[in-house]
Symmetry: C2
Subunit: 110 residues, 2 copies
Amino acid sequence: MSHSDDHGFCPVYEAINVLQEKWTLHIIRNLLEGPKGFNELSRAVGGCNPATLAQRVEKLEALGIVSKTIHSTMPPRTSYALTESGRALQKVIEAIDLWGRQYLPEPVVG
Amino acid sequence: MSHSDDHGFCPVYEAINVLQEKWTLHIIRNLLEGPKGFNELSRAVGGCNPATLAQRVEKLEALGIVSKTIHSTMPPRTSYALTESGRALQKVIEAIDLWGRQYLPEPVVG
DNA sequence: TCAAATACTTTACATTACAAAGTGATATGG
DNA sequence: CCATATCACTTTGTAATGTAAAGTATTTGA
């Protein structure tokens, strides 16, 4: 957006724009465990409604982060998996994981 | 281990929830360069409107990621800086940076 | 003395995400 | 053998979130 308007294409800026979208990092984190079907992914992610999830995986597919394979149309069977690009995001998830463990202490339950 | 509803407190899940909010990663990335005033930060981030920016830095302050120092009220002068927790997020930004450079090629301008 | 800058806030509007229900077909249990 | 659950979504209306634009009080620079 502004940064690309001001200084041309900036990979970090664009990467942040991709990853900051709601549910995106959750989706990637769960797919790191292996391919999943739509509802399976939905349950794993937890709390994302199907309309939003469908929109996210579509975008991630367009960006080459996720690949969608249709095994059968009726009964419907699909699976979502990470591409090489998606798998490369494991480093990002790991960094977030480490930070979370160090700086997000469990809130005191009263 | 996905979410708080099912398995109690999960640091990665919570960390993702913090970092996925719009503009949050941009704010942190820009503050890694050093403390900034409100409008200065706004210009650096690029495209975030003041209402949202105010709300974000307030939340980041509550989470102990950002610290706010008021130098004078009139004329107004404030500066925002990263705390130790915020500075620790440099690892996350670096991972995103690396990924962006490898997997987000500059789109062909037509 | 007038425009610009500071750090925001307010208001009204636009975009985004949400819950809930529905689709068509098959597989599963009582 | 018929209701129910499951699959992968879509549709619909509503709630939450983000946005642009303008405004606040004050000082500084021209």
